[in-house]
């Protein structure tokens, strides 16, 4: 080497962490809340112990409680000791990590608080060498997002920086839900845009931080055997299931507003659908991947009134027994209106009108208090064009199904037909299971670790872009509006079962059935 290239660090080449975080301050709004306690602080500590954070890295918690820096540090210590995958805390690492934790008490809509915050950030830039780089993380109730975004801008705290790595830069991370419909999402975006350009806004859907969700792309585009058959010629239909066994767990305020369709379909399920259906991106860069996801959303034709009545089902769990224990129905949950019309279950059939997917239905179902917690994408292939095996031999023949399990027991399973050993020609379906846990015993990082690190690095590949968000809301709004206008009734379902019988009818009408999971 003739001379040292100063544009990049020559010592970084070939090392485990080739992507390096620049010195910065992460400002967490809602620093005493549940998300910070359970996810953010443990994730930051995990990053600190695995070394990708620079020594200057600093966290400032902002919340309404009158905490001191020391009290915030104590809370963070409790968070790490309770929820970190690297618990118990390592005292030596904690010693230096905790020195970078600070607290600023403020109401989220109080301009004076933002002034105090600004002074604190300037002081920390001097003391800790954070170079004016900021990430604002909104971990508050969604109703505060707009106010915080606007005040960050008007107070000058979010001095317009670059989204890229040129210091000083500023970014804002917004938790889901991003609005509660298309209009509110646009209004929120407008308020954020006063201080932040689109490249500076990182909308989190934590599903995208999951290793197994990222693996959908690797499986599709890293293996030559799948892509040639990943189309209408070979695939009969696709089923996407996001099932939860729990109820609403005390989140009545939020859930009454959202329901299953806003809580799951608009974000997580649309992400799974777009990753399954998208065309290969030209690069693995943020815009290339998101461009392809947007194209899929654009190719979903808006559902007409008649289709909504036949191709969507909404349900609500009633009271019952789960594992022998009585559980309340949704309307008996604390904080829920006893006549609530909020859906806790949604099933839908969507079509994607493009060359790859024309005529291939995508069946979606999600709900609370279902039989088990499972998230899965199942690709059901068409039967062989000619059934060579007849009569008893063929009785057990099932079509091939490739299922990608996101959680739990992450992995891929392929159902194939095989001959039962013996004199007779009998066929049985067998599973070829590939569990990630069986091939890579390494514990994957938590979704929030990956997403926080990506936000610090300015990589928005795993964050949703505004056009993506808007298209998903457009789809959901159409369905919700029709349900309201036509007064589509809620179908009750037994807790611990797989949803209302109308969901079965939806798919059986097409001569298909839901997978037994």
């Amino acid at each position: 080497m003739d001379s040292v290239a100063l544009a990049t660090n020559p010592l970084r080449e070939g090392l485990r962490s080739t992507r390096t975080v620049q010195p910065c301050i992460l400002v967490i709004f809602g620093a005493t809340g549940d998300l910070t306690h359970r996810k953010l602080l443990p994730a930051l500590y995990n990053l600190a112990i695995e070394q990708p954070l620079p020594p200057q890295f600093t966290v400032v918690g902002v919340a309404r409680r009158p905490f001191t820096d020391e009290q915030f540090r104590q809370q963070a210590l409790d968070s790490v000791n309770t929820f970190s995958r690297r618990r118990p805390v390592n005292p030596s690492v904690w010693e230096t990590f905790s020195k970078g934790l600070f607290y600023c008490q403020s109401q989220f809509d109080d301009p004076a608080g933002y002034e105090r915050l600004d002074h604190l950030l300037d002081r920390l830039d001097q003391e800790r060498g954070t170079q004016g780089n900021r990430i604002f993380y909104l971990a508050t109730p969604p109703s505060f997002y707009g106010d915080i975004g606007a005040l960050l801008s008007s107070s000058g705290v979010a001095k317009r920086g670059a989204a890229s790595g040129v210091s000083p830069w500023a970014r804002i991370v917004v938790e889901k839900p991003f609005g509660h419909d298309l209009a509110s999402a646009r209004a929120l975006n407008e308020r954020l845009n006063k201080g932040f350009s689109e490249r500076q806004i990182f909308r989190i859907d934590h599903y995208l931080g999951k290793e197994t969700v990222q693996n959908i792309m690797v499986m599709r585009f890293g293996n030559g055997i799948f892509e040639p058959i990943w189309n209408r010629r070979y695939i009969d239909h696709v089923q996407i299931t996001v099932a939860e066994s729990i109820g609403i767990e005390g989140r009545a305020d939020y859930y009454e507003q959202a329901g299953a369709i806003r809580d799951m379909v608009q974000n997580h399920m649309m992400q799974l659908l777009t990753l399954t259906a998208m065309e290969p991106p030209v690069t693995f860069g943020a815009d290339s991947v998101r461009d392809e996801k947007v194209k899929v959303l654009r190719a979903i034709p808006p559902l007409m009134e008649a289709e909504i009545s036949t191709d969507t089902v909404r349900g609500q769990y009633g009271p019952g027994l789960v594992a022998g224990e009585p559980v309340p129905g949704y309307c008996e949950e604390p904080g829920v209106n006893s006549h609530s019309q909020t859906g806790t279950f949604v099933a839908a059939k969507l079509l994607i009108e493009n060359w790859r997917w024309a005529g291939v239905p995508f069946y979606l179902r999600t709900g609370k208090r279902l039989a088990k917690r499972v998230t899965e994408i199942a690709i059901q292939f068409k039967r062989p064009p000619y059934l060579l095996f007849q009569g008893a031999a063929a009785q057990q023949m099932q079509p091939n199904v490739l299922s990608m399990r996101i959680q739990p027991n992450e992995g891929i399973s392929l159902q194939v037909s095989a001959k039962v050993p013996g004199q007779e020609m009998k066929l049985r379906t067998v599973n070829m299971d590939f569990l990630y846990g069986s091939s890579f015993g390494v514990e994957p990082p938590e979704a929030y670790e990956r997403l926080l690190l990506d936000a610090m690095l300015g990589d928005s590949t795993l964050f949703t872009r505004i056009d993506e968000t808007e298209l998903a809301w457009t789809l959901v709004d159409t369905i919700v509006r029709d349900w309201q206008v036509t007064g589509t009734p809620l179908s009750r379902y037994e807790p611990g079962a797989w949803g209302p019988k109308e969901a079965d009818t939806l798919i059986e009408r097409d001569g298909r059935s839901w997978r037994r999971l």
């Binding site: 003739d2 020559p10 060498g129």
Partner: protein
């Protein structure tokens, strides 16, 4: 001959190993099905062959491999030379199949132990190459000093994708580094060869690289004046292993374009060496290697992995890096960068003195890369480790010809 390490294994005919493994899996699946379970599909990702110099190290090697089964489900073959087999045959074979369930996921491993008489051990290719699982990456881990120039050894080596040696466990480090570099160069197009000892100090490379991530620190990389590397040694009169220190210096040299000025050790006393290197524009850099005596050392094979159980002792093996100090100048300003192992040996602190302003010191957890963790890291790599190859090549000119040892 029954070795302690094969106590829980089943002896089979050497030419029936594949068939017997297959029978074992059938029996295991049948038992699972009879109990109403689901016979899973086995994942296997590689073949690992470990050559151990004796029974004791073979047993330690087996432990390290067993612990890795969940991370790298594999076929593992351990070969160990013995004086004579009980049967009088040149080779005895033992097998074992393992299913380990962790967090609900079951991993599968196959273990084969081959005990070979000295004669048979010199002709291993015909015994082990047929046992390599087709189509999967294959690794050869050679404990101790390989017979560098033996034709039989090279014939075996050529059947693998990667070969791993450990310079930390080798005597006469400088001599063996030279032989290793010669082998790496000769086998460049066939086998990727690497050294556990280089992998072990990867956390140190991260630490030192981090100093120069800020753009304003980069100019110092052009003006390095002195590098001091301290490495762990045992008692004062025992020979110290300098491999990590030299390889670390080699890594810096290869990344920054430095070249040693011949075998230019100016002060050669026990535990202290000084070399001169030149950067790309001819500036002189002093490289100092110092032994820190009195560190409690253990064989790397006995050291736990990155998990670092609280009571695990010892924590470091021969020649482990203890500190790295870099002094540099840029635009007339002097800066220093230090990464030093804490007294608990589990952590390192970084200190950075630059005129541009304060950089907070940082204490980081220093994963102890014992054999298990190092092996795990190595098995993740499939191709050539060009960082290692370049580091080795960069430091070799400082070692030859014939480094002298001068008594104090």
């Amino acid at each position: 001959m029954t070795l302690r390490l094969t106590e829980k294994m089943r002896q089979v005919e050497p030419d029936a190993i594949e068939r017997e493994l297959d029978n074992s899996w059938r029996a295991e699946n049948a038992a699972v099905l009879a109990a109403g379970g689901h016979a899973g599909t086995r994942s296997s990702v590689l073949t690992l062959v470990a050559y151990a110099t004796d029974e004791t190290s073979a047993a330690r090697t087996l432990r390290a491999i067993e612990a890795l089964t969940t991370q790298h489900p594999s076929r593992s073959i351990i070969v160990t030379p013995i004086n004579a087999t009980a049967s009088g045959r040149p080779l005895e074979a033992y097998i074992n199949t393992r299913a380990m369930t962790t967090n609900g996921a079951t991993s599968y491993g196959e273990e084969i132990v081959l005990c070979a008489t000295q004669d048979a051990a010199q002709h291993l290719a015909g015994s082990i190459l047929p046992l390599i699982v087709s189509g999967l990456p294959s690794f050869l881990w050679w404990e101790g000093v390989p017979p560098w120039h033996a034709g039989n050894f090279e014939a075996t080596l050529d059947g693998f994708d990667r070969a791993l040696v450990d310079t930390a466990e080798m005597p006469q480090v400088e001599h063996n580094l030279l032989a290793l570099e010669d082998l790496v160069r000769r086998k460049k197009t066939s086998v990727a060869i690497s050294d556990f000892n280089f992998t072990r100090f990867s956390p140190w490379r991260e630490l030192v690289a981090q100093f120069f991530d800020p753009l304003e620190h980069r100019p110092y990389l052009n003006g390095v004046e002195r590098v001091t590397i301290e490495y762990a040694a045992g008692e004062e009169d025992s020979p110290a292993n300098t491999a990590q220190a030299y390889l670390f210096a080699g890594w810096l040299a290869s990344r920054l374009g430095w070249r040693p000025v011949g075998a230019s050790a100016e002060r050669l006393v026990d535990g202290q060496r000084e070399h001169t290197l030149l950067d790309s524009v001819g500036h002189r850099i002093t490289l100092e290697l110092n032994a820190r005596y009195g560190v409690a050392l253990g064989a790397w094979l006995d050291i736990a992995g990155a998990g670092d159980g609280a009571n695990v002792r010892p924590l470091v093996g021969p020649g482990a890096l203890m500190s790295v100090y870099i002094r540099a100048q840029a635009n007339g300003a002097v800066a220093s960068f230090t990464a030093a192992r804490e007294s608990d040996l589990r952590h390192a602190s970084t200190h950075c003195q630059v005129p541009q302003g304060a950089i907070p010191s940082q204490t980081v957890h220093l994963p102890t890369l014992g054999e298990q963790a190092s092996l795990g890291e190595e098995l993740l790599q499939l191709g050539h480790d060009t960082l290692f190859e370049n580091a080795l090549a960069a430091i070799i000119p400082a070692l030859e010809p014939g480094l002298r040892r001068v008594a104090r």
